[in-house]
């Protein structure tokens, strides 16, 4: 399979009519991510929702990989799976997530939420499609080891052109840090 | 608290904590633990701990390969309690002193006919049951200590595991059988004082012998009648 995949890659043209293995896998994983995401918001078991979120985020990481955004993919796994999800589970445990259904997990205005979600998704899709309509990005040619989304490529771009935002980010992170500490301390004084 | 001893332990004797180090007293002024101390570097205690385990690893292990090789038990090992039934007078001291109440004794009284016409008939306790429940016994040895007639002994035998806990109650036949495994009491030190019992027995035996000798001598003297002088009584002990 891999050989076929590689062969089809090397002779790849810009066409949706002859889908390559990568594109097929991309669509399949995308469907899985969609399913996991729907389950995340529709299940009435809190921890199950968090675990479905793990599946969705992990699937997204695979999508990144398929788009050759190697660096972002592993950041996704490291940050989102490794910590945000742990954080989510933490929160659930601290708020007494029971085993089994929690009937009060439904907020009651699910239709409003669904509408909002559809609007947001529509906006995003329109935006992305409109912005990159005919822009083709070459996935790596065979034989090259450097990928568009590799760590090094990211580093080059980041530290050559985007240094100031990068430094601003540190201030943002510092603000978040101080904010978290202040909030948690107030919480403790109250409790 | 750091995991290893620290605090106000004096410089001397600190090396004792490492157990069988075998090293001479290096100046152990630094207290172990992460804090380090005067003279030591931080983490000295941690390094010491590592050294101890590593050194132990290079030594021969002390494990007895038990089922393959019998262990060498020290004298007076507490394996199982043996009963010398003949010495038992059913005084019940052992059963009463047992902290676990694991000694069961049944007996009845028997009246012996009087030996002489004038004497009273005597009663004697006859042992019906003597059992020790080794599933309860905690091997404290109090019963053996309190027995005034030397009827209970430690035996070093320890292989009497059973698949049924009830089997661990050893009845008197079994307890009597254990007697055969009781080792002889250890020999005394060469210069030790003679045990009281032996001294008393010897004294009694000597007295008896002297009395016999005296009687014999008296008889001989009586036979040889008055003319001769009695034999010198120098060997006779003073009464």
């Amino acid at each position: 399979m891999t050989a076929a995949l590689a062969a089809s890659l090397s002779s790849q043209g810009h066409s949706f009519l002859s889908p390559t293995g990568v594109e097929i896998v991309f669509v399949l994983v995308g469907l899985a991510v969609l399913g996991a995401a729907v389950l995340t918001v529709s299940t009435s078991q809190l921890v199950h929702a968090a675990l479905w979120l793990v599946v969705a985020l992990g699937g997204l990481a695979i999508e990144y990989l398929l788009l050759t955004a190697e660096f972002i993919a592993w950041v996704q796994v490291l940050i989102y799976l490794g910590s945000v999800v742990v954080l989510v589970l933490f929160g659930l445990m601290l708020t007494r997530a029971p085993i089994g259904r929690s009937p009060d997990a439904d907020s009651g205005n699910r239709w409003v939420a669904l509408g909002l979600a559809v609007v947001a998704a529509g906006t995003l899709v329109t935006l992305v499609v409109d912005a990159f309509r005919c822009t083709w990005m070459d996935l790596p040619a065979s034989g090259s080891t450097s990928v568009n989304g590799s760590t090094q490529a990211n580093g080059e771009v980041l530290f050559r052109y985007w240094v100031l935002p990068f430094e601003a980010l540190s201030v943002l992170l510092l603000a978040a840090l101080v904010g978290a500490i202040v909030l948690s301390r107030r919480h403790r004084e109250e409790g | 608290m750091p995991p290893l001893p620290s605090g106000s332990v004096g410089p001397t004797g600190h090396t004792e904590h490492t157990g069988h180090t075998g090293q001479s007293h290096q100046r152990g002024s630094g207290h172990s633990g992460r804090s380090g101390g005067s003279g030591g570097f931080p983490g000295r205690g941690l390094a010491k701990g590592l050294a101890v385990t590593l050194r132990t690893m290079t030594r021969r292990s002390v494990t007895d390969q038990y089922p393959d090789a019998q262990p060498e038990l020290p004298p007076r090992s507490r394996g199982v309690i043996a009963l010398l039934e003949e010495n038992c007078t059913v005084c019940m001291l052992c059963a009463r002193e047992c902290p676990d109440w694991c000694i069961y004794i049944d007996s009845h009284k028997e009246t012996l006919p009087a030996a002489e016409p004038n004497a009273r008939a005597r009663t004697r306790n006859v042992l019906d049951r003597f059992a020790i429940d080794f599933s309860l016994c905690m091997y404290c040895g109090i019963c053996i200590e309190v027995c005034p007639f030397d009827a209970l002994f430690w035996s070093p035998e320890f292989e009497y595991a059973e698949t049924d806990i009830l089997e661990l109650t050893h009845e008197r036949e079994k307890l009597r059988e254990w007697m055969w495994t009781v080792p002889p009491p250890p020999a005394l030190d060469p210069a030790a004082e003679e045990p009281k019992e032996i001294a008393a027995a010897r004294k009694a035996a000597d007295k008896l012998a002297a009395a016999d000798a005296a009687a014999e001598a008296a008889a001989a003297a009586a036979q040889e009648s008055a003319g001769t002088t009695p034999p010198p009584g120098g060997e006779e002990p003073a009464p």
Binding site: A6, V86, L87, G155, F166, E167, S170, L174, A180, R185 | -
Partner: protein, 134 residues
């Protein structure tokens, strides 16, 4: 050098081939676990009793529900971690380029400024006693 060339040759298809192999290993791993569970199902006895299915709490019947109040201060650590992890991620792309020609000391200082800000945050947390347990 020959070896290097051989590596390059064997990795001709590069990126996608590499991750395809990783994916293949993932599939093999899942198959392994699944077959282990399957074989286990055939081998093992199944005799549940009510007592066996109780939660184990050192031999005492469980009291209350299977939920214990945990310390909220874990949560602060989790916050701290997320923020610092985001920071640490940036070290990797930086690490690959900062010593290359055209970057040099300037890039090093940029990163020091970045880390400096976060170190200030850590000091703040320390000072505020967040890192203390009690």
């Amino acid at each position: 050098m020959e070896a290097r060339a051989a590596v390059a040759a064997s990795q001709q298809s590069g990126y996608f081939h590499a991750y395809a192999v990783v994916g293949l290993l993932a599939v093999i791993g899942v198959l392994f676990v699944a077959s282990a569970f399957g074989a286990n199902q055939l081998l093992r006895p199944y005799a549940p009793t009510q007592e066996k299915l109780l939660a184990y709490e050192c031999g005492v019947d469980p009291v209350g529900e299977g939920w214990a109040q945990t310390q909220i201060r874990y949560y602060v650590y989790a916050f701290l971690y997320v923020i610092f992890a985001v920071d640490a991620i940036y070290l990797f792309p930086w690490a690959t380029v900062f010593a290359k020609p055209g970057y040099g000391a300037g890039t090093l200082i940029e990163m020091f400024v970045f880390i400096g800000f976060l170190a200030v945050g850590l000091l703040y947390a320390w000072k505020k006693g967040v890192l203390e347990w009690t």
